[in-house]
């Protein structure tokens, strides 16, 4: 049984002081239900997650107590992807016909502060100031730039594009274009990354309605099919966040593994993809993830970015909604935002940021601590 996405809903990302994270989740869920033309009482199951805004299953208090099995998912940056995989399997197995996936969050300002003990790392690691995701991303891109000849200009070009796309997205947080020079000369956060090259924790909510593919036409004229959903954790030897040491022999990270699994599952290759949303926790991550997901060779990004290939009208549009850099990262909602954007693109309903040429295949990728990655491939 194939699985279709027949409803999508989003609560704008950014800062919404008047609404709790849960309320933003409920707002997105109601929008998704309305989009699919179904009532909450018709939904047979739900998976959802939130890192800092309470239990996702508390959504039933907002939406109504129908006795629905609502399972909470907690998997860091891959929370949304993990919820989606769970819902996909629930329908594919034949157990259910229609269900909801939801993710929302509301984080404090400033960088995330992780607790070493929760990840089985000694307290000393945090005390000396190494329990910082930003440092990992900076050190990974520093090494990558050294090995593959990527310039600081390329980092700035990624952010420049994110803000251009964000300006076209009514649900984005950052909606003002910022020039290349301003991005490059902004306050340094972790060398080589300035403050405009990082995403920040934010708020928002996304919900999706999934159903058996053979029921999709009941709910929408533009079903989008979930052709693949994969998730992987790190293998020994990959270079990962929150690692007091790294093995001398390096192996591919979870992104490479999840990507390969997804392409195999969908029976398509990187060249077939028309639009892609790639985890851009910072500008360097987008660059590295282009290659890790198989869309180019290592080092090729330098000329791809300079030629504008990753812009909406380019030959491989990346993060058409502004990505994490323009939307911020509400952990529970972030991965689902990518799926929301791809469904909008495949429906031809992305407005000002619509990728030209009637895109048919779309790709999402998240990466997060402590070394996990989730990928989806959607087809219309």
């Amino acid at each position: 049984m194939d699985v279709a996405i027949v409803g999508i809903g989003i609560h704008p990302f950014g800062r919404t002081p008047a609404r709790t994270g849960l309320q933003q989740g409920a707002y997105a869920a109601r929008a998704a239900l309305k989009d699919a033309g179904v009532e909450w009482r018709d939904i047979q199951f739900a998976f959802g997650g939130s890192a800092s805004a309470g239990s996702a299953d508390a959504l039933v208090n907002e939406l109504g107590l129908t006795g629905i099995p609502f399972i909470n998912v907690a998997n860091g940056c891959a929370t949304g992807g993990s919820s989606l995989i769970s819902a996909y399997n629930a329908i594919k197995s034949g157990q259910y016909d229609i269900g909801l996936v939801a993710g929302f969050d509301k984080h404090d300002r400033g960088a995330f502060n992780a607790d070493p003990k929760e990840l089985g790392i000694g307290q000393w690691y945090g005390e000396v100031g190494m329990m910082m995701t930003t440092q990992f991303f900076a050190m990974k891109i520093q090494k990558y730039m050294h090995d593959y000849g990527i310039s600081t200009d390329s980092l700035a070009r990624v952010s420049e594009k994110s803000f251009i796309n964000g300006a076209k997205n009514p649900n984005a947080w950052r909606r003002e274009p910022i020039g290349l020079d301003e991005i490059k000369s902004a306050t340094m956060v972790n060398d080589p990354l300035t403050k405009y090259m990082f995403c920040s924790p934010s708020e928002g909510g996304v919900a999706l309605i999934l159903c058996r593919a053979d029921h999709a036409s009941r709910y929408t004229r533009t079903p989008v099919y979930l052709k693949a959903a994969s998730f992987r954790s790190r293998r020994f030897g990959s270079f990962e966040v929150f690692a007091p040491s790294q093995a001398l022999q390096q192996v591919d990270g979870p992104t490479v593994d999840a990507s390969r699994a997804a392409f195999e599952m969908a029976g398509v290759g990187p060249k077939d993809i028309d639009v892609m949303q790639l985890q851009d926790t910072e500008a360097g991550a987008e660059i590295m993830h282009m290659a890790e997901n198989g869309f180019c060779e290592h080092g090729e990004q330098e000329h791809l970015l300079a030629s504008g290939a990753t812009h909406i009208d380019g030959r491989m549009p990346v993060n058409t909604d502004g990505g994490c850099i323009a939307n911020g990262e509400p952990i529970g909602a972030s991965g689902l935002r990518q799926v929301y954007e791809n469904v909008a693109q495949l429906r031809g309903a992305a407005g000002e940021r619509q990728v030209p040429g009637d895109p048919k295949l779309a790709y999402t990728h998240v990466y997060g601590a402590p070394g996990i990655s989730a990928v989806t491939i959607l087809q219309k």
Binding site: N113, E127, M131, M132, Q135, M139, V189, D191, F236, A247
Partner: protein
């Protein structure tokens, strides 16, 4: 001279004439882990021995932390006294790449591949007035 205590037990030999970082080495596959672990992340083996890591290596990658982290950061600094610090992975030959704070925080003076050595120095003073000793990597002069 104030009493000195290591920032964590088992991270490095202390006190010692020639202190050194400690790793565990898997008796089955030979992979080294820092800090010392009860089992091997490479092969799941549970027979490990503890050994000293070399004191010198090369800088594998680095960054500089320009803003003061939130807790659990605990350096005794305030927002006013905070100074940016370098962080990097140093490849210790035959061992593992260890992440540590660098004594150097000037990006112009840090380069991938440069020789580094481990040093042990006071990091902060604890509530009892003890000097808390941690490890740092320093460019080899």
């Amino acid at each position: 001279m104030p009493h000195q205590v290591p920032i964590a037990e088992g991270l490095f030999t202390w006190p010692a004439d020639q202190p050194a970082l400690l790793c565990s080495r898997c008796q089955h596959c030979g992979i080294a882990s820092f800090p010392v672990a009860d089992s091997c992340m490479a092969c799941s083996g549970q027979e490990v021995s503890v050994e000293e890591l070399p004191n010198q290596g090369t800088l594998w990658t680095w960054t500089v932390q320009h803003f003061m982290p939130k807790t659990p950061y605990n350096s005794g600094e305030t927002m006013e006294t905070f100074k940016p610090y370098g962080v990097g992975y140093v490849e210790l030959p035959g061992g593992v790449r260890v992440e540590g704070r660098l004594t150097e925080s000037d990006p112009q003076k840090l380069q991938i591949g440069m020789p580094m050595e481990v040093v042990f120095a006071p990091y902060r003073t604890d509530d009892d007035g003890n000097e808390v000793i941690s490890f740092f990597f320093r460019p080899v002069q």
